[in-house]
Amino acid sequence: MARSTTASSQQYLSAAKPSGYRQVLLFLNSKAMIAFFMCLPLLILIIGLVVYPFFYAVYLSMLNKAETEFVGLDNFFFLIHRSTFWMVFKQSLLFALTAVFFKALLGFIAAHLIHNVPPRGQRVWRGLSLVPWVIPPALSTLGWWWLFDPTHSAVNWLLAEIGGPHIPWLSDVFWARFSIILVNVWYGAPFFLIMYLASLKSIPEELYDAAKVDGASSFQRLRFVTFPMMRNIISITMLFSTIVTLANFDIARILTQGGPRNTTHLFGTYAFKLGIEGGDVPLGAAVSLFMFPVLAVLAVFILRDVRQRAARV
């Protein structure tokens, strides 16, 4: 083995000697090399600002509170014995899955509605529907918060006018969870809408015509034409959104600060509470890293999907 390596390198050297510069240039000019260089900025960005800090955070999560001792997985074992942590764990899943489901559902319905009206009117509906996604959520959540304010709630005023109940939006466990999901759905549904609308537009009309000729009912057309054609985009957007929603920070942070009784804490807000407010950075990092088992499952799905996509490329 060793010999052959030496031989080949000698060969390389001897070959390089007369026209080394050129050789290098040729190598650098090869298609693979150019391709690599084109990806280099991406690699530097991801390795420097995602991968490295990520592993650093993993390292942090294995230190004691004062960050003076390496404690292995103790922080993780500590967490799995805390009831509050499991509550946060379940809440995060509940929040992410419910919010994503409703974002997708509302986005899907609204996309069809817009697709159904004459093209000239579509621009306006589309534009109006996209407003929530365009206002920075840290600021629009403040608006929601003011709408939900216990004493000044304009929503409750409206409910009172029509004889409805006074809803404790942010103080009751159910309603507080409902509220953070609602705000997230409100903010995120337009993104789904636009993705689905784009997808609907790419479905060839002939497919529907063919289905109609075959006597397919409207439900059958939805089931056998629309869904299959949109399957990919639906799964991709839902997966993407689940990841982002699971890591959500600002909505719960601003609206409920995790209350009442910690029942609206998510991974992000709880990690911040422990790490920054409580000064236990390793434990906070451990909480954030607990998202990973959940996310890893999603990652498998994404990878499969992306691989299929890559195969087609």
Binding site: K65, P150, H152, Q257, G259, G278
Partner: protein, 448 residues
């Protein structure tokens, strides 16, 4: 409100090398502080307070040939403590940083010892309040001074008219400007009496309202309340002591009190009680004078009926919550001598007085001998509205979590353990035993 919002960051240039000797500082001041200093201070919400602070720093900087930069960093969204974490970790940033309550404990290792300064100031003006030592002195070493700005406490803020009309209590008479009858207060202003009054006020449609949630205002009234029943979550030795008769009593009391409070208090943030009293619905809250100040702007007729006064007492005494700010010097500061000089100068009574006045009396120095500022007598309406804000009676100033060892107490406070325990009983309907068991479990995790 307007003008204080502008230009919070200032660059203060050096103008003269003269006048270093003009500062009368008994502290053994270094002969020549020079160079640059950067301060990260709490962004004061009182209009104009930041400007006065910046002005003082500028004056000192000119006299000492130091280029002083001041950043006023808000506590909103935990901006200030996030920045503190960033600087401690990156080991770069300001020289002096204004750290709220628990941040000195958290960053203990990154702060320069200031024992000599604390000692010198104690010689001049007498010692700090005990709470200061609890929060800033760790393992026998002082890591910070009490900031002259930002520190505030949580007295009761009550409607004089409602209390008189519906509860038959004349708060102005009980907590007058000037001489008070402490024996009368001790017999008439207890939590039992307060509950009675709160019940009547609720019946009249003007309940007592205070948040019971994760934010700091919640800790700052419920923590002292539990203390006044004798309930300690963790004792000074670090033993979990939440399971006690005192805790049960306090929880029972909260059950009754919450039954006459608005049901939304579990969602109130730090401004929830402010809005409650300003809206005219509430009869009483616990808050520093900021609620009254806003009422003076937005609802003057409400403001004119407000009165700041002592908290009620319980079986184990009378306690009031505080949220102190402490000034530390980062150990990565390259100009520690100048930082100490400036800090020392600002801690003098003259400067502190100026700053208290600039805050309209909102800031409370945690040093009893500094409480003779006339600003607390002169604010109005009504005349003397915050006379009792500095604490004229026998209240002890504490932070929620006290007397647990500070790293544990920090968790009790930041994770809102006490309000959460209360809410589990009063809102979640858990039994006292279950809630206490839950708290014990949580506390076991805090001392890791």
């Amino acid at each position: 409100m307007a003008h204080s919002l502008s230009s919070r960051r200032r660059f203060i240039g050096t103008t003269s090398a003269l006048g270093a000797a003009a500062i009368a500082a008994p502290y053994v001041k270094s002969a020549h502080s020079a160079g640059k200093l950067a301060l990260g201070l709490w962004d004061h919400w009182v209009p104009g307070a930041n400007d006065v602070m910046a002005q003082l720093c500028e004056t000192w900087g000119q006299d000492n040939n130091v280029e002083v930069t001041v950043d006023f960093i808000t506590s909103i969204g935990f901006k200030n403590i996030t920045t503190a974490a960033a600087e401690a970790r990156a080991r770069t940033g300001h020289d002096i940083f204004s750290l709220p309550t628990w941040q000195v404990t958290i960053h203990e290792e990154s702060l320069v010892p200031v024992d000599d300064m604390v000692e010198e100031l104690a010689k001049q003006y007498g010692p700090y309040d005990e709470t200061a030592a609890y929060l800033a002195k760790h393992n026998g070493t002082w890591r910070a001074l009490v900031a002259p700005t930002g520190t505030h406490t949580y007295p009761m803020v009550s409607r004089l008219d409602y209390f008189k009309e519906h509860a038959g209590i004349d708060l102005q008479e009980l907590f007058p400007i000037g001489h008070r009858d402490q024996a009368k207060i001790d017999s008439e202003w207890t939590y039992a009496n307060f509950l009675e009054a709160a019940t009547k006020l609720n019946a009249a449609g003007h309940p007592f309202g205070n948040p019971i949630g994760p934010t700091s205002d919640s800790q700052d009234w419920i923590g002292p309340l539990f203390q006044s029943f004798g309930s300690e979550m963790v004792n000074a030795d670090g033993d979990v002591t939440v399971d006690s008769d005192a805790t049960r009593q306090a929880l029972d009391f909260m059950k009754e009190l919450t039954s006459v409070m608005p049901p939304d208090v579990y969602a109130w943030d730090d401004a929830g009680n402010n809005r409650w009293i300003i809206s005219g619905m509430g009869s009483c809250i616990q808050n520093p004078p900021s609620a009254w100040t806003v009422a003076r702007r937005d609802a003057p007729e409400v403001a004119a009926q407000l009165w700041h006064h002592d908290t009620p007492s319980g079986p184990a005494g009378r306690y009031r919550g505080t949220l102190p700010y402490l000034w530390g010097i980062w150990d990565f500061s390259e100009n520690q001598t100048a930082a100490k000089d400036l800090l020392m100068w600002l801690s003098q009574k003259e400067q502190t007085d100026t700053l208290i006045r600039a805050s309209n009396g909102y800031d409370l120095p945690l040093r009893p001998s500094f409480l003779d500022n006339t600003v607390w007598e002169s604010e109005a309406p009504p005349d003397g509205v915050i006379y009792n804000y500095p604490g004229r009676g026998n209240e002890q100033i504490i932070v929620a979590g006290y007397p647990a060892p500070p790293p544990i107490a920090a968790n009790i406070y930041t994770q809102g353990l006490i309000p959460t325990m209360v809410a589990r009983v009063t809102q979640g309907g858990e039994s006292l035993d279950d809630a206490i068991f839950w708290a014990e479990e949580e506390l076991a995790g805090y001392s890791r």
